[in-house]
Symmetry: D3
Subunit: 225 residues, 6 copies
Amino acid sequence: MVKMGYMKRGLLAIVSHPDDETFGCGGTLAAHASGAPVDVLCLTCNPPERRDELFSAARALGIGEPTVFDDLHVEKIDQLIRRISDVIVEKRPKVVVTHLPFDYHREHRAAYEAVKEAVEWAAHTTTYDEPYLVERLLLMEVNTLIPQPHVLVDITGAMDRKMEAVEGYTSQLAKFPWGYYQNINLKRAELRGVQAGCKYAEAYLEEPVPSNSPFYEAKATHSLL
Amino acid sequence: MVKMGYMKRGLLAIVSHPDDETFGCGGTLAAHASGAPVDVLCLTCNPPERRDELFSAARALGIGEPTVFDDLHVEKIDQLIRRISDVIVEKRPKVVVTHLPFDYHREHRAAYEAVKEAVEWAAHTTTYDEPYLVERLLLMEVNTLIPQPHVLVDITGAMDRKMEAVEGYTSQLAKFPWGYYQNINLKRAELRGVQAGCKYAEAYLEEPVPSNSPFYEAKATHSLL
Amino acid sequence: MVKMGYMKRGLLAIVSHPDDETFGCGGTLAAHASGAPVDVLCLTCNPPERRDELFSAARALGIGEPTVFDDLHVEKIDQLIRRISDVIVEKRPKVVVTHLPFDYHREHRAAYEAVKEAVEWAAHTTTYDEPYLVERLLLMEVNTLIPQPHVLVDITGAMDRKMEAVEGYTSQLAKFPWGYYQNINLKRAELRGVQAGCKYAEAYLEEPVPSNSPFYEAKATHSLL
Amino acid sequence: MVKMGYMKRGLLAIVSHPDDETFGCGGTLAAHASGAPVDVLCLTCNPPERRDELFSAARALGIGEPTVFDDLHVEKIDQLIRRISDVIVEKRPKVVVTHLPFDYHREHRAAYEAVKEAVEWAAHTTTYDEPYLVERLLLMEVNTLIPQPHVLVDITGAMDRKMEAVEGYTSQLAKFPWGYYQNINLKRAELRGVQAGCKYAEAYLEEPVPSNSPFYEAKATHSLL
Amino acid sequence: MVKMGYMKRGLLAIVSHPDDETFGCGGTLAAHASGAPVDVLCLTCNPPERRDELFSAARALGIGEPTVFDDLHVEKIDQLIRRISDVIVEKRPKVVVTHLPFDYHREHRAAYEAVKEAVEWAAHTTTYDEPYLVERLLLMEVNTLIPQPHVLVDITGAMDRKMEAVEGYTSQLAKFPWGYYQNINLKRAELRGVQAGCKYAEAYLEEPVPSNSPFYEAKATHSLL
Amino acid sequence: MVKMGYMKRGLLAIVSHPDDETFGCGGTLAAHASGAPVDVLCLTCNPPERRDELFSAARALGIGEPTVFDDLHVEKIDQLIRRISDVIVEKRPKVVVTHLPFDYHREHRAAYEAVKEAVEWAAHTTTYDEPYLVERLLLMEVNTLIPQPHVLVDITGAMDRKMEAVEGYTSQLAKFPWGYYQNINLKRAELRGVQAGCKYAEAYLEEPVPSNSPFYEAKATHSLL
């Protein structure tokens, strides 16, 4: 039996490093934080101090306490897939957000690979007693931009919280004393806002997720409408 | 103002030749025919006699009267795109179904190209006074199979009507007196049925359609949930 | 000197898991079992009990005793390639059958990668004293279908043995008490049979194998006819 | 004999429609306008009134009078290639700028195809008495963004002229009375400016152009340094 | 009834321009000319004088009189496909040779597209009373090289005839008075000869051709051995 | 502070195995050896004796003493990237040469992957105190040919040294007593020479390297001319 509180109601962002969740989809997470569970799974924590920054960011965004793997790098993909699908099955999010397959960062591309597999295996009746089928998989932009987004989420009301979360990543911001991370997050949100007809927005690609499979509980669709 | 009866309620299959709509998605069309507008746009009619077969098939499936372009081949794509988007804007379907981009048939691949463009341009506020944004674009299988479908539609209750529509394509069936078209439609539906945990099914790929764009009325998404 | 009995006469199926050889190409293996050596190399055996099922399946198909690697997963590709090419050089099959590069299963895609490399290195005069050049590499379908097959093998006369081998995989069948594996194997064989103009068939893609190379014994072709 | 004033000194933007040159690379054109020939070739002019807007934009940018083909659409690619290479051979630009091959606009993708071919044929000694080899081919962004640019050009000193040219496209701006084109040009320049460490920038992909060929005058490179 | 003399015994080279057949596969054609029908279909002849050169080349190679389409360019692909398949059905070659899909020449890539489709349609029982299934489709190199060939044909015994045919293309050779075409043909044959362990060779990619299809006479394969 | 002698003046070849640097770009290295630093980084040395051959080859080519990693295979890419970028940052070459991404040899493809990443990370201000941005990345041919090269380097004056270096690889040459490696190097240089209008040449693909990035010192380009 599916636990009621988590039944396809929330979002789960699965990211490579602390700060990716804020830079990539922080506004979206904050905007959905009231009324639905919003969670983060971070696949690495290197150096360990970044964990504190991640937890601060989560508080600024108003979302739940992040789940963090202590890995130094996104590697050993085969074992990682299972660890990710365990979290998906536990959290039961309606929407999963992760990195782009053409992200310039090697560990972001690896996260995409692992998450895509994990979404599949989480839904298999042969791997889990209570398998879980994610409804949507969205891919976010950090430093690499999406040429033509499928989805633009209005984050105007959440932009303050996003920027507060950005500001908390002092270890990262310090690498660019001229304010790169603050500015890129601001200007990218403005650009996407222009496209979205609002002040600030975040952009996503939609990666189609199978709705049916012999290995899922949802084997057939009865109505497309 | 959007006409109420057509407001994102139905399906529109856009196909290269008479019979593609029946072989590729006839069960799905029939299964949705009560309670929502279900339409077919056929991009060619060569020779002209196939028009009668198409209209018979539509009656067998219980759907509306098809729209037919009198072209002999799927060609002159640039002009074709606009003619297709005109139909999309008029019919306002929630779901559009068309061919696979890797279909073995050249004119099926060309239809995919044209439909994908038409779905985009139909939604532009700069091209139409009452532009229209399709919600889902599904790709069907005729002779070329989908390796791993995203959607399996249960057509068990509509299989009789699909097979009746198949049987009406006497000009095509006559090319294979050993019953190829009847059998392939039956056996493919059975195979997809096994995967879908029902008796008969049809399989589709989901092609993601943008939800927002500066050129659409729907510029931003306010909630992903 | 090449051992006479194995001189480009037979088939070798190289698969990821016990049951892949039966589901993917069991009918073809059985159909060729008299008059030519027909072998299976299985790259994993996890859990170990599946070995018995594999040996039973081989008996049902009427083929030789399988070679089984005790690995739990298809991984460490670099070492695996050499272990596979050793088997190819020993067995000297005319035709090698393996998985699809676009199979939905990660370990099937990995098997394809490894087998393709192994076929190349098995033929190198610099790696083997008695190198061996496979003539054809065919790719089979398990759960992922081939959109447009290159080869359809008539397995009508061997279908009983294939289904007997399927039935022996009780550990796998038990996962789907509604009979998924039996039904999918039956219905896929029927669908391919309709395309092949016979009762039951199996489908393959042909992956071209080089005929000549400076590193092969067969450096030049003297007639294409 | 090569005309001295044009010997690999300038830029040539080859675009699909009037306004693409301003939106895509107007700042770059303006920034290079003193000290080198900077030209525009526009492949269509539909409706004819847009020609005046293009000429105004060129004046605002401070560049030469545009060359305009009177075509309504980017089509009949084969003939178009030769007409474009004629202009390249006449203008002899060091750098050619055009659209992205993955631009969302069909006519932008077609322009890319034609320009890439034209750059090749312009250099052939068998097609021109005075063939000409372009040194760099850069691809610009209009509505479709470049995920990871190769080149970011600082246009801070030319931003006023770019925005003046944008403002002159009244027929286009009128389609979006909420100021889309003004805002997107501003915000994109700011975002690229953040990445480029300056106030405003434009982004490009570099498409490698052959330096040598048996069909070019420049058959060999003698030093890479 | 199939004409005996042409029953899967020979070669047919289908090329874009007069000289492609000599430069790309002239040695192979000459080497097979005794004992099997060897034919050329040339898709264009522009200017008309090149027809004489083509006929001279065919005589030098010792092959049959070429079939020549009077088109100026490889265009209007849809109609061209049918004209090519008509020739395939008439000639009934075992092997068809044509251009590479990644050839640098646009009209060579178009020829590949058309030939690949024509090979398919020539085999359809629904298009021809005496359909014909080509056994092998080989792709040759002219100016664009094959990175890793599948087939290297020893043309040592036919190299004199190839070079005689090359020398006859005086209209083309005149464009490169330093002897480019003679030298490239010589040196490429030598390079491929080194790889093939002989003096002179020609290289090909193998494009897999379906052996079976519901639309072919050859619906099923009964033995892979 | 950048060391003067190495400031974007030289070449660095990064190769998988001893002999790749000679076969792939030995002529180019030798041709540039006077007047600029020319270096080799070899990623493996297996068996250890090949190190001596590599050092002899470097002496024959007239270049500096190679840097050699003692790895047996090109593997553990993640760690390898950093070790390569360390060498790039130390050597500060204007041009890096490495393998093709479509090379038939698995370890050559892996080298390409690692080098491409290393070139990126070497330029990051966040990874190095004295980061370094390579200007050009060129890809060379060993056994796999480049279909259409971007650059042909005239190595006529250096061919003697290249062939002397080739001759020193006695452990490799011994595998092909019929002289394969000597001949392929000679004939490939002749073929590329014909294309380059000289006696001997080497061919390369150009892989575009970003000129600017927020993570580089070179954030913006101020002039394209």
